[in-house]
Symmetry: none
Subunit: 232 residues, 2 copies
DNA sequence: TGTATGTACTTGTATATACAAGTTGTTTGA
DNA sequence: TCAAACAACTTGTATATACAAGTACATACA
């Protein structure tokens, strides 16, 4: 059962999606939504406020709330399997599983993955190679409830990403990209010096049921770049 | 007169800024804030909710609200002025113009900017500061035909990005992100050691008339991260 | 000892209400 | 005619309240 403010959000989004409301059009005022949906003004307000925060709507005091302009905003990072990425370049992909085990969630991890501290998590560490050279060290935690057979997978034939996308299709993701010096063990796994900068991507992926996985991906700075293209 | 929920937000931000609360620390619960500031729970809640939306705090039902990792994040999906990015975090932006001149296009640059080798280009070098700390070294080449008054701008009041977007609205962009060690002169401008990794973004921006600008943006790895969110 | 239960906390959702503040159009009055 | 005042709308801020849902810990019980 969805929260009522979520239902109102969906109703508005559907109308925009269907073209019933176009950019610049006025959406019902808080009071109109209050009557239409039989909720209090604060609930209607919450729906509008969140849509404004998400960039879908714009509002001005005294005037009203409106559908904002279309922002096509193609995402610059599509989430692709490292395997596809490498083979698409015509190169050979191989990988080595370093660890595959069940662990207990520490405090930090429990917050990131929205589980209780001490809950079971699956943990995998895999190094990916492109033409024999290490190109990614993947340190990943997985929610066992959403991917119960994770530990039984043969990651030499299917990447974690591919598997997770199969059992719990992605609906959302957020990620952070940073430049850093690798810890000693990371440097060793990537076969680089500790003074070689790394590109690190920390990514949480969501399915409809919640956080599926938290992955930290380390790439040797001199062997890997991220590219993207934006249209406006 | 600031709204009370804004005052509470500021109070919390100041404590984080001052180091009284560090990443992972617990912030007062809604009820504690209610007593401490003499406001209703909904008002305290609004302060926390907005800080969560801004990525400053994280919260879990039944557990509490915590300070999240405090390094600045910028959305990687949109091209924004570094000035907006910094002021939106409530921080102070300043910058220093190192160079502003007309140069001849070298071979490499002529290809990147789709001009003839030897053609005139405008070249600027600017260091941007967040609360006095260098956060971006911007090395930019501009097509004079599309932004003829570029050299006359006062970049202390308008960033190159803002100006270019005004005279030649962006239609497209592509960029490459990489981790690297800074050259000596870059390290010096960012006031970091040459052994400190940098996040480098190389970006070409297009308007309807063609390539407007080619920029190389260097950020200290330990002071800057790129963040993004994807929906499917 | 181990398990269930209760309690006290946390955040999440929802309502009803009040007044402030900004905008627009109409009406009133000089 | 023109300008001030007003009314009717909008969103913005703030309170008091209630219950739901998730977590943690102590306590009671078998």
């Amino acid at each position: 059962m969805l929260a009522r403010y979520s239902q109102i959000k969906l109703a508005i989004l559907e109308q925009i999606e269907a073209g019933d409301m176009r950019p610049g059009d006025r959406v019902p005022s808080e009071n109109q939504l209050t009557e239409e949906f039989g909720v209090s003004r604060m609930t209607a307000r919450r729906a509008l406020t969140e849509l404004v925060d998400e960039g879908i709507l714009m509002r001005s005091q005294g005037i009203g709330t409106f559908v904002s302009d279309d922002r096509p905003m193609s995402s610059m990072l599509t989430i692709r399997s490292i395997h596809d990425e490498i083979t698409q370049r015509g190169h050979q992909h191989s990988c080595q599983v370093i660890q595959l085990a069940e662990v207990k969630a520490c405090h930090q991890m429990s917050i990131w993955m929205s589980v209780t501290e001490g809950d079971s998590l699956y943990h995998s560490q895999i190094v990916h190679f492109e033409n024999g050279k290490a190109i990614q060290f993947e340190d990943r935690f997985v929610n066992p409830l959403l991917a119960p057979a994770y530990l039984q997978q043969n990651f030499l034939t299917i990447t974690p990403n591919q598997y997770l996308n199969k059992v719990a299709p992605l609906t959302e993701a957020d990620h952070v990209i940073e430049a850093m010096l690798p810890a000693m063990d990371v440097a060793q796994k990537l076969d680089i010096a500790v003074s070689q900068p790394c590109l690190k991507i920390s990514r949480r992926t969501f399915s409809a049921q919640g956080v599926v996985s938290y992955a930290q991906l380390y790439h040797p700075g001199h062997r890997y770049r991220l590219g993207g293209h934006l249209d406006f």
